[in-house]
Assembly symmetry: C2
């Protein structure tokens, strides 16, 4: 492995987190510090041919504003909310950015910039970030959940990211928890996501109100059905609203049961709960722990810690930079 | 790694498969050939203190009958139908042989015999065996199911057995497929095993007959309710018996849906179906393939081969020997 120029002079990478709404970009050093950060709207509507140019333009903007040349960077990581084919470094599924699908983005960006470029699933980056500098420090077998619009997971096995045979591992949001359940965004019925994602929770809340259930939810959302979010629902549940309590309890039960299954399958030392929904904190953590204790095999439940993520929204950016440093043989500070 | 004395002179290990009813023992060479085999009833009722002696006596019997000395053996592997704590080489759960629980059997046998001794979960051994010389040759990411009284699995990740943080990984039989389902042998409701194991299928068949369902099942079993086995039920289903068809279809649907979940989580290149129930062959294989094709994420379903095991009941014995050779640095013929 090529070593860095020494711990004293930290090296830098650019990490990009392409979300359904915003693209975040950060200059991250080999100590895991975010030196600078930027954000701009993700390009939903651009032609596929313009996607590499969008990424390249962002990277060049960071270099310019930071007064850096490309040769002063170790590399770039682009985090994608979708499935990557590891062999071809191609985005093969990205429901929120369909124009990005089919792109061999890693190679295209690498050629345009002359910089080593990684392409990675955002939930995998978050797992790497939490393991590097967050809740999972020093833990070799863990599963990190990103509870958001969908449910993503990154799996660390024997200290390394587990990507599966073609790079698509970790679709725990699509564990089938009720074979005859409601339709999921993936087209199949009864996936965990169709019961416990932010999208599902908000959908159940709107349905309940439209059906006339007595609830403070509409009031909390300022009278606007479209303004209901998972935060609104969890907030209403905390205040004792029966509709919100039932919806969150159901979602948490499915989440807990699925985590019990994950514990039975992986025997991980740690489960990390991150993503927007995990902002509800103890409100999710306490019942999930209780369900796993009751429903996973005792020997495995006894050996797993279930904790909240620590890096918040930065986990993916930090994990992406870690991937660049590791791939390029730069010594990182752990 | 210590190398063997050369490919020409094959080395030998003793592999033991402790089942709920019989204990099989084999002398296996480094080419994966079973040189000799023995079988005797498993000791359910002996005191815990006598368990190591039972194993040691079997090994000494093999040595004597084969005119071998201990120094001519590479080592011993004891396969257990239960959960092993890797760190202490202790049997921590073994529902069919409760007197064996709590035993640090690996160490005790090793001390008594002066031979390297591995202790391993039987389903893990079967996965290793099928990958060495069976259906999974050369496949780095696979999940091998042993469909029997219970449902065991061995998981191969990046070419190595995945045991989890304490050795309990692979309890896929205890994926929760219906959180409000019937009680499983593990004490929890709605595990895959409670719907699709041989034990469950036989139970559903007996229930149906006791409730007076019109079925050829009782006739096929010679009029004896206790003589109904999974073979009886699959046989009756093949002959068009509606009760047996419904029972097998339900079990296969739960199995297929769970394998779809496993495909979504692991993105394996191969799923291997082994164990007694897999003797039903195409009767299970064809519908499972169809369910996975429909219910797993397309990109992952497209990349997984679902096949029948090839080593039959010998998979565990052969895999156990492989583990001994690998652990002791003996070159195996692959």
């Amino acid at each position: 492995m090529r070593q860095g120029a020494g711990a004293a002079s930290k090296q830098r990478a650019i990490s990009m987190d392409v979300g359904g709404t915003f693209t975040k970009v950060a200059l991250v050093d080999s100590g895991g510090n975010i030196v600078r950060r930027w954000q701009e709207p993700s390009e939903h509507d651009i032609a596929s041919s313009e996607v590499p140019g969008f990424v390249v333009r962002l990277v060049r903007g960071v270099l310019k504003e930071s007064s850096l040349t490309a040769s002063e960077l170790v590399g770039v990581c682009v985090g994608i909310p979708g499935v990557i084919d590891r062999r071809t470094q191609t985005i093969i599924s990205c429901p929120n950015l369909t124009n990005w699908e089919g792109m061999a983005l890693g190679q295209l960006v690498e050629q345009a910039l002359g910089l080593p470029t990684c392409l990675e699933k955002d939930a995998n980056e978050a797992a790497l970030g939490e393991r590097w500098l967050g809740a999972g420090r020093g833990v070799d077998d863990l599963v990190c959940f990103t509870l958001g619009t969908g449910i993503g997971t990154g799996i660390i096995v024997n200290g390394e990211l587990y990507r599966g045979s073609t790079g698509g591992a970790g679709e725990i949001g699509h564990i089938i928890v009720d074979k005859d359940g409601p339709a999921c965004s993936c087209g199949n019925p009864g996936c965990l996501e169709s019961f416990a994602s932010a999208r599902a929770i908000v959908g159940f809340a709107r349905d309940a109100i439209e059906k006339g259930s007595a609830s403070v939810l509409l009031e909390v959302a300022g009278g606007d059905l479209d303004a209901i979010t998972t935060e609104t629902v969890f907030h209403a549940a905390r205040s004792g609203d029966p509709v919100a309590m039932r919806i969150t309890a159901d979602a948490i039960e499915y989440l807990g049961v699925s985590i019990a299954s994950v514990v039975n399958v992986f025997n991980p030392a740690m489960i990390i709960l991150g993503g927007g929904m995990a902002q509800a904190g103890e409100q999710i953590l306490v019942p999930v722990r209780e369900i796993v204790r009751k429903r996973a095999r005792r020997l495995l439940a006894d050996h797993v810690e279930i904790v909240l993520a620590r890096l918040g929204n930065d986990a993916g950016l930090i994990g992406g930079a870690y991937l660049v440093f590791r791939t390029q043989g730069v010594a990182v500070q752990e």
